[in-house]
């Protein structure tokens, strides 16, 4: 019964990650790439170019790493609370998330070129923002490692208690046998 509950939780986690790492970014990039903004009064088109026209590369890396992240999210979310496998896989998930974020950089998705008719072009580079997120992810990794240590100590303590545990029904409170 608990297994089914875990799996249900895993599928919810997977759906969340699939939406946030694959669906929404892919749709957004596609939308921005196809977007045409008419500039009054001549109604010339303002063209926004992502990854110097290589949007397919961006979407490939989004989907590829998004799939890996979703698989790891399923494993992490479906693992029981305070288990080693949950913490270990959540650390792996954060590392993969770092790769995912960096894929925005190496696929060129962080560079937006905007062609303004009659004026020239502007390039917006979001690498700084990616670095900021990577920094935040580092702090999350540290927190997860701390959690792993905590879980490990908890398990050891539990094992020790198991060895010493003697139910009251065997001996009285003062240690006298029944």
């Amino acid at each position: 019964m608990g297994g089914m509950k875990n799996l249900f939780r895993g599928f919810i986690g997977m759906a969340i990650y699939m939406t946030t790492t694959m669906l929404i970014p892919a749709l957004t990039f596609d939308f921005v790439d196809k977007m045409e903004i008419p500039i009054p009064p001549t109604d010339q088109i303002l063209d926004i170019e992502i990854a110097q026209g290589g949007i397919a590369v961006v979407i490939f890396w989004l989907v590829a790493l998004g799939l890996t992240i979703s698989g790891l999210a399923f494993f992490t979310w479906s693992s029981p609370k305070d288990s080693r496998r949950k913490v270990v896989f959540s650390i792996l998930l954060v590392f993969t998330n770092c790769f995912y974020l960096w894929s925005y950089k190496f696929s060129g998705a962080t560079a937006f070129g905007i062609q303004i008719p009659g004026l020239g072009s502007v390039t917006l580079d979001f690498v700084g923002m990616v670095l900021l997120y990577l920094g935040a992810y580092t702090l999350i990794i540290v927190a997860k490692i701390w959690k792993l240590i905590e879980v490990e100590f908890g398990k050891r303590k539990e094992k020790k208690e198991e060895k010493v545990f003697v139910p009251e029904s065997t001996f009285g409170k003062d240690g006298g046998a029944l």
């Binding site: 019964m1 608990g2 297994g3 875990n6 799996l7 895993g10 997977m14 490939f60 989907v63 590829a64 790493l65 799939l67 890996t68 979703s70 698989g71 790891l72 399923f74 494993f75 479906s78 693992s79 029981p80 609370k81 288990s83 496998r85 770092c98 790769f99 960096w102 190496f106 700084g128 923002m129 990616v130 670095l131 900021l132 997120y133 990577l134 920094g135 935040a136 992810y137 580092t138 702090l139 539990e158 198991e162 545990f165 139910p167 009251e168 029904s169 001996f171 009285g172 409170k173 003062d174 006298g176 029944l178």
Partner: protein, 115 residues
């Protein structure tokens, strides 16, 4: 509409302030992360074929192993143990008069009184 724009502007300003002040601390840490990611990426794209099959296989393997592992080890062990512990504690009936455990027997083995 005006309220919506105001709310969006407020959110954008809030995020901007958070980013602005955390940048001094987080960006250098991000640079360190960038270093190891770029090091790993030297091996990454060349050795892995650039089609979805490889990633689909990873996804399916993780999914199936997750299902199997959760089927065999659902993590209920702790709850069951606690239940057993509680049951054992409940089964340790105590004497009404001296308070010592008497188990299931009617007479207390310590004071001899009937319970």
């Amino acid at each position: 509409m005006i309220i919506q724009v105001d709310i969006l502007r407020m959110i954008a300003e809030f995020i901007g302030v958070v980013f602005y002040y955390s940048r001094a601390v987080l960006s250098p840490i991000g640079e360190v992360m960038k270093f190891w990611i770029e090091f790993l990426l030297q091996f990454f794209p060349q050795n892995i074929p650039a089609d979805y099959n490889f990633y689909i296989i990873i996804f399916v393997v993780l999914l199936i192993s997750g299902v199997i592992i959760n089927y065999h080890w659902p993590g209920e062990k702790k709850e069951v143990k606690e239940k057993e512990k509680k049951e054992m504690e409940v089964s340790a009936k105590k004497c009404k008069y001296c308070g010592k455990p008497i188990g299931d027997s009617e007479f207390c083995p310590y004071c001899g009184s009937k319970n």
